[in-house]
Symmetry: C2
Subunit: 325 residues, 2 copies
């Protein structure tokens, strides 16, 4: 059982790899558990801290056909395609976003198509495929109407993955991720970076800026549940998906004010006071175009689960990621 | 005022060119009427029968950058992008469909982006972007859920045109065409080819095969109204479109049985009896995934108009296209 993770040196990629190493096996096409013999992490740089013989690290440009040919082979059973240019950066550098979020996804699908045993491809999409005038709760069949280049590129890759799956070229699964909170590490160029920063930085004794109004509503999922969903998305048989390979994952719907209130309940007034409110119209425009909640009944019926509440998400971050005091 | 028509030697391209030559002018960005000095027809072959100095014919492959660079210039005010691989052919030859319906559209948008004065790009999309479980009447915001490679490629081009327009790289307008009936000429590889054939062939004294059940419902527009809609789509100011450049054009909703009944009313029992019913599951699967009606209130508010009824469409074909007896 060989697994490929693009964006494998990123936060989700590394965490997924560690979970798979720990779990040790995955079901094959016939549902039989098979030991994982190799996990290839593909990224622009190598991840540090892996000393497991099952881990292979390949660095390079995933828009290069030769690299894809090397890492995805007829022995590959699963491709977790996580590599992406994040929303803020894809808006600032249109061509880079097109190259990585669209061209690389298509090349990857083409490489999978050329393999005798087509792998399962688990692709992470985003709330950003929605936008414009939205219902209070977005449904699985709400129209794609992205208001950013990132959302456009993700929506296009969703369509490709569905058509490639319908044609039998790959066995694809598209998981639309809620905004992930709390991401560990440093802020990134995602428009939603603050949704982790306003919890993470205060817990690490640092000030944090919130660029959107307190009543802006977000749809959130914790890193723990993202990893569990990726693995569950691989495990489901193709037939379970019916006519659409795209699933809106369950999240929790909270306002930014709710998030800071939860931080105060879990970590105290002094910590929550480290959040500063400085409005940024460019970020607010992107974030406000995303849905604050969606109907996740299809995902739930398929066995995906979300978080219990934001207080739990804050505690999970403290357990998993906060450096020991 | 210079105009480019891709697929310019096709039936719609030629008819559009003749209408523009007759009309003689189009409004520029500021709304001032300008004489049309050049119409470039781009296609794989030249169209016959044009002897007007304003017509330039360029033959070649529109996925070639050099060709696009030659035909689209900073002097180009309008690009009618009609070139496409039709539904049946795109399903049979996936790679050809991707190359013409997706890659060529993207290259064309990139070429327009590189021009100092970005042209208006009028792109024809299709009912085929919809599919799966549909409401009785499809709305403007019904989810894209194509069940064919053609529909997938059109949906992707729609998304690109919207994002390129939002970024100011082009001034795009996406017109979702109902199924066109009655097309003149020969059957083609579109899954919907029969929707013209069952009227055209009997009127020309030939037998015709209907591959779908009599109760299959179609959403139809006549060639006359398509041409008027393309020109109107160019004429509207960008601001009229708001947050989406995509418009569902008005059609009429009729069953295949209704169409044959109209043929009988207009041309007689003997003519209508030339339709033979031979079910083709592959065509029925594609056609039945398309909506039989959609809400056209946005298009109507924007000034687009459809046909009065199918009897009129049959008569219009007889007037415009039927060889004199």
């Amino acid at each position: 059982m060989q697994v490929v993770i693009t964006g494998g040196a990123g936060f989700l990629g590394q965490r997924l790899a560690r979970s798979l190493l720990k779990q040790g096996s995955l079901p094959d096409r016939s549902g039989q558990l098979q030991a994982i013999s190799k996990i290839t992490l593909v990224d622009v740089a190598a991840a540090a801290g892996f000393d497991d013989a099952r881990i292979e690290q390949v660095t390079g440009d995933i828009t290069e056909h030769a690299l894809l040919e090397r890492v995805i082979t007829p022995q590959t059973a699963a491709v977790f395609h996580l590599a992406a240019i994040v929303s803020g950066q894809a808006e600032a550098d249109f061509d880079l976003g097109m190259r990585i979020n669209l061209d690389a996804s298509r090349l990857l699908l083409e490489r999978c198509r050329s393999c005798a045993n087509v792998p399962r491809v688990i692709f992470t999409s985003s709330v950003a495929v929605f936008g414009g005038v939205l219902p209070a709760v977005v449904q699985d069949d709400t129209a794609l109407n992205p208001q950013s280049s990132y959302g456009t590129q993700k929506a296009i890759a969703e369509l490709l993955l569905n058509d490639y799956s319908r044609k039998g070229f790959v066995d694809g699964r598209v998981l639309r991720l809620p905004t992930i909170s709390v991401r560990p590490g440093k802020p990134n160029q995602a428009a939603s970076s603050f949704a982790s920063g306003i919890i993470r930085e205060p817990l690490n004794g640092q000030p944090a800026v919130c660029p959107v109004a307190p009543d802006v509503r977000l749809w959130l999922l914790s890193p723990r549940k993202v990893i569990a969903s990726l693995i569950h998305g691989y495990t489901l048989p193709a037939e379970a998906f019916g006519k659409s390979r795209t699933v809106n994952l369950p999240g929790i719907s909270v306002t930014v004010a709710d998030m800071v209130a939860a931080l105060e309940r879990v970590a105290g007034k002094q910590v929550a006071a480290r959040v500063e409110w400085v409005h940024d119209p460019a970020i607010d425009r992107i974030i406000s175009s995303w849905p604050g909640a969606w109907d996740a009944s299809r995902a739930t019926a398929l066995g995906f689960t979300g978080d219990a509440g934001f207080d739990d998400i804050v505690r999970a971050y403290m357990e998993d990621d906060l450096p020991a005091a």
